[in-house]
Symmetry: C2
Subunit: 342 residues, 2 copies
């Protein structure tokens, strides 16, 4: 690679015969500059391999142009796809993203919030840890006056923008599908009720079971952290019942995979003897044998909407607080593990 | 959750009957405090649910206690496992981690470096983007005097600490294994040579092929970005040869998955007609049918060593630069896709 002099805003201005200030405004997507000029500036900047000095630019404008993310973990297709989509939208607008993971720990989430506030982020987009009950730290973000947007795992009491799918309806859709396959004894391996999304899935399961006059038994509804290991353990627990289920709806794909492993080990035919449904559309669900029926949570749309909501809040910080509750409809992807009629 | 008064360092000091200063030192792992006292302080802090104020503590000590990570992407089992292990070691030492992804883009990596320097990180642990050839931005980190540690995708010319596996030997191990299975025409779908690890894998492939007197043909060695799509395309290219290979060693698991899809679509028996080996031990390799033979890159050990190397550098910043090159031996995991002798 050659060691040419670094391209400056002035170089771009010279090529286009406009002022350096106009170039700077164009690069920061200033509304006073026409779209045509912005486009031209971006093209020349790209041709000359212009590298903006982020720090200098931030200090000049009193903004960091950083957006902080907090996710339970990054090694889930759902969260990494949401992150990807947030980045795509916000990078184009000149924001950089820094990611932190809570690993489902409340303490770590608090420390992540402190870290992000310390780094002067312009906003925080978060999905809450399983452990989180106390909302003090999220209130702290609000009190700093920077936008807070929650997705997937949110909390009504915080009164902030939220983007997610309709978890209650998703459970209805799943139970409906299993009933159509002829299942009569449907169990649910759910998450913990104190997390809103899992509570909604449990409520949806209970109401759908009642609606179809199916047995609603305490033993058929279990809560867990939904790891692979939890899926294994809870599946064994269900198999040990006097009357085991003929279908199991698991609230997360990794736990569904654990359940499937146990069913294979016990030589139980899936879906003939027990039908299985997961949640989240992790890529492996399409690859295993039998492939696992699951729910598409629209991670791409959730990511995009979270980013756009942030941009909206930054644009009109004093806008009267009308909460954007984007509740998307989930999509059931029927695969071998529950399809008895093929 | 109750709204009790927040626990302070003074509360911990009162319980243990020591000075608040001693508590603070203990919480920051100061060498002047005994391990016994540190242990007692940590226990009481936990019991009282003490939440340290990160910002105040950082300002007091002129340190951010942040470590920045740069990875090509987070949605790979290898990178997320490295991140996990780095966090486990550094969180215990009071460091918080912020993660950025380059998405294999040189420009994004530069902007990530600027972002992390802007947030005053105490060090950067990075794995380079596929696109990166120009090292100017990494030199910038070095010139700031903060530790830079590279893992997996590193670069000799930077003269910094590096942790990775022995890629050259890994290729030898794979070719050796395929020869033992009776394969006589072994192709390699590799990464780009300008990235050190992929260059080492290619060199290892070439030398091992020569050692076993097998045909070393231009058509049998192809380079790509190693996405699923690349794996599909390059596999089709190999199948279209006048003399197709009887084994394919793919330098990354996702590309190996793409190759496997094409082989299945073409009704080619794996491993009987063509044996297949991937690289990276992504979880899906054990789950697909046939399961894919692959290489364990020791992500856990790489993460731990990267974190420990950072701690070492922080402890002795003026230590004469003896580069820690932790080159770990990779491990071949033989599965159905290459095991002809079962």
């Amino acid at each position: 690679m050659t060691n040419k002099k670094k391209t400056t805003i002035k170089d771009i201005a010279n090529v286009l015969n406009i002022s350096p200030a106009a170039v700077s405004k164009a690069l920061h997507d200033d509304s006073r500059i026409s779209d045509k000029t912005k486009e031209a500036v971006r093209e020349v900047a790209k041709e000359l391999n212009y590298q903006p000095n982020h720090l200098a630019s931030a200090l000049r404008r009193g903004k960091s142009n950083l957006v902080g993310l907090i996710v339970p973990r990054t090694n889930s297709n759902f969260f990494s796809s949401v992150i990807q989509n947030i980045e795509e939208v916000l990078n184009k607008k000149g924001y950089n993203i820094i990611i932190t993971q809570s690993n489902e720990s409340f303490k770590k989430e608090c420390s992540n919030i402190d870290t992000l506030l310390f780094t002067q982020v312009d906003g925080i987009i978060a999905s809450m840890a399983n452990e989180t009950i106390n909302l003090e730290y999220f209130e702290k973000i609000k009190s700093k006056g920077i936008p807070l947007i929650l997705f997937d795992r949110g909390e009504n009491n915080l009164n902030v923008d939220y983007i997610g799918i309709n978890d209650y309806d998703s459970s209805h859709m799943i139970v409906e599908h299993l009933v159509k396959q002829g299942c009569k004894r449907i169990a649910h391996i759910g998450g913990y009720r104190h997390t809103r999304i899992f509570n909604n899935r449990i409520r949806g399961y209970i109401d759908a079971i009642k609606k179809h006059n199916l047995p609603l038994e305490e033993d058929l509804l279990v809560e867990s952290s939904l790891t692979i290991e939890d899926g294994r353990e809870k599946m064994k627990q269900l198999l040990a019942l006097k009357k085991p289920p003929d279908a199991v709806y698991v609230a997360a794909d990794y736990a569904a995979l654990g359940a499937l492993q146990v069913l294979e080990e016990e030589n139980i035919k899936v879906p003939a003897d027990i039908a299985l449904v997961g949640f989240g559309n992790e890529p492996f669900t399409a690859l295993v044998t039998p492939s696992i029926t699951t729910v598409n949570q629209h991670s791409d749309e959730i990511g995009k909407q979270a980013a756009l909501t942030f941009l909206e809040r930054v644009k009109s910080p004093n806008k009267k607080q009308t909460l954007n509750k984007f509740i998307l409809e989930a999509e059931l992807i029927v695969r071998e593990s529950s399809n008895k009629k093929r």
